[in-house]
Symmetry: C2
Subunit: 367 residues, 2 copies
């Protein structure tokens, strides 16, 4: 094959003197391109481009435009997004990085993001970083190499060089679910303080005075904010704050929650309720309770945070804080699109309200 030898069907027609049907065309090359449509219509490729782009379509006479559209359809023409993106520097693609898809809080977020993007002609490149920072960095590089128009990160740490890096590169960015300490990023998160307030209020209302707290990793905004909120709220509610009954787990996992609960017991201190910083930690409490032959809520009340799917089916159904995860995703995508349109949009932090869902894991303290 000659270098630069083109295989445009139009040329093939000239070459072989045959009239090629679309079906045959399709067998010759993957797809008709703009040039094919143009030569079929007897116009210049740029005219076709104008017609096929809504923004410039009005530049072309209506009758010709219709004819071109007809031919394009006939040839099954689809714009090559690579070529288009290369030229325009807009890919209508955004990268979404989440730490762990199998953690039930993330699918609804992703879904909200996606549906919002889809409505605007964007598509999402999704990556599950497996919570590993190394791969996260690589993923971001991969995505920027693909010229994504923006990025949504669901796994930021409070201090996050990766986030700084993205910002520095001028790539539109929105954080979701977790945020960073600095306020130089747009983020959509949950109102942690309100959530903890509600949970503490609920427990206190039931009569609990010795409330233990199992928190999450302090490197995450959620873990930190909930911890701070607990200290603050507990003080306000006038309950005894025993430092031994406050444990911040290293991870938001069931096993971490289980271990933490055992630690609480080991202190020998009395407590009638455990406020956990998320559902998984609460679930770990369930495990520990069972191992210790204790009952929930009869012996100990337990609350969670997140309202993961199916926690209402647990034994006992978990009292927890519902976070509108889909809405988190929707808002994150909306804000990102805004930033893509206008990169100078001032950053903003959106805080969605959690709702307390009272179920069977909390009750009036027995002792």
């Amino acid at each position: 094959m000659q270098p630069g030898r083109r295989h445009s069907p139009a040329e093939s027609v000239a070459l072989f003197g045959y009239s090629l049907t679309p079906m045959i065309l399709r067998m010759l090359k993957t797809r008709a391109n703009i040039k094919d449509v143009a030569s079929r219509a007897g116009v210049h490729p740029s005219t076709v481009s104008r017609v096929l782009n809504p923004a410039t379509r009005s530049m072309v006479s209506e009758s010709l435009a219709r004819e071109i559209v007809r031919i394009a359809d006939e040839l099954g023409y689809r714009r090559n997004a690579l070529a288009s993106g290369l030229r325009t520097r807009r890919t209508f693609t955004v990268g979404v990085i989440i730490p762990d898809l199998t953690n039930p809080v993330f699918p609804p977020i992703v879904r909200g993001v996606e549906h919002t993007l889809d409505g605007e002609g964007y598509i999402a490149i999704l990556a599950d970083s497996g919570s590993k920072r190394r791969s996260e960095k690589a993923l971001i590089e991969n995505m920027t190499a693909r010229q994504v128009d923006g990025l949504i990160l669901a796994a930021a740490n409070r201090k996050d060089p990766l986030v700084d890096q993205v910002i520095e590169q001028g790539i539109p960015l929105v954080l979701v679910n977790r945020t960073v300490d600095k306020h130089n990023v747009t983020a959509v998160i949950n109102d942690d303080e309100l959530g903890i307030d509600l949970a503490v209020g609920h427990l206190v209302g039931l009569g609990h005075r010795q409330i233990a707290y199992i928190g999450g990793p302090q490197r995450t905004s959620t873990g930190y904010a909930r911890y701070r909120a607990f200290l603050k709220t507990a003080k306000k509610a006038g309950i005894k704050l025993d430092r031994d009954l406050i444990i911040n787990a290293r991870e938001f996992t069931e096993t971490a929650g289980q271990a933490a609960f055992h630690e609480l017991i080991k202190t020998g201190k009395h407590f009638t309720a455990v406020l956990s910083a998320n559902d998984l930690l609460a679930l770990g409490c369930y495990d520990a309770l069972e191992e210790l032959g204790l009952r929930c809520p009869e012996d100990i009340s337990v609350t969670g945070f997140n309202d993961m799917p199916y926690v209402d089916r647990f034994a006992p159904p978990l009292t927890t804080l519902h976070i509108p995860h889909d809405e988190l995703g929707v808002q994150a995508a909306t804000l990102l699109l805004e930033r893509i349109e206008n990169p100078d949009t001032p950053t903003k932090q959106l805080r969605l309200e959690p709702r307390l869902i009272v179920r069977g894991s909390t009750a009036v303290p027995s002792a």
Copy 2:
């Protein structure tokens, strides 16, 4: 700005007579390109291209190659995937379409797919079709316009024009989770017959003879295969096959399962166990049982299919069939990559074995 006016930093250097640092470069344009690296290194762009491509790197002298890599790093060069893909017709991107991310069976599949792809330098474009065919078609078009190297569909119907279309277009395709009736597609699914076999065997072993069946939509391969398997296996096991006790729900949902169970009860026929074609349907049975004041497993045993996360925490913990969903994803991605490398690979259907997980929802029949 003149048409065609280039803003390569190298030219800028010449223009202004300044030595520009990488930092300043980055402020001038989004990113250094191959030409920038080339002029900095005093070589031709194609030489840089060769160095930066592992496959062709050996064509360049080792010392020069190293120098070029150094300069590329210094300039923070990243290959523009759009340009590269446009030229090579390989994007290292695959499209993944799933019907509903919030259905817990899909996240692990997606995760398996992604991790496998990631290992090979590919990335996934993910779309949640919301189970809507229309949007599914649009999504596929969007993805092919983006020149994806292949497609993974998790939501095929037994007869699926969309699947036919993709195949016809010559786009490498792998189905996962569900397949089509025709055997002209590569698919990675679960061994439904074995699963049903195990479930029936378990119930029969416990002493159940009147077993009701709540199946899924017959348009899906899973719904159909499990239904056929139940008929076959039940006959083999010598249990009474009462057509009234076999209901195929329209959807794999909790509400559909609930409704189906009520229908079963309305028949007035006696049964001691319900075999459900998936966990969500089984969950619906739980709901109906509660509404009817019946207990599981004391009054009725219930089994599911899928082993969704947390069904072990339900009240009662659900006896079900575990499907290695991550492995499904891993295999699907592996087979797809194979097909991308060699499109003529014969199609194959991989059937992974489910495992029976006996929990608290099944027991010896009381009556």
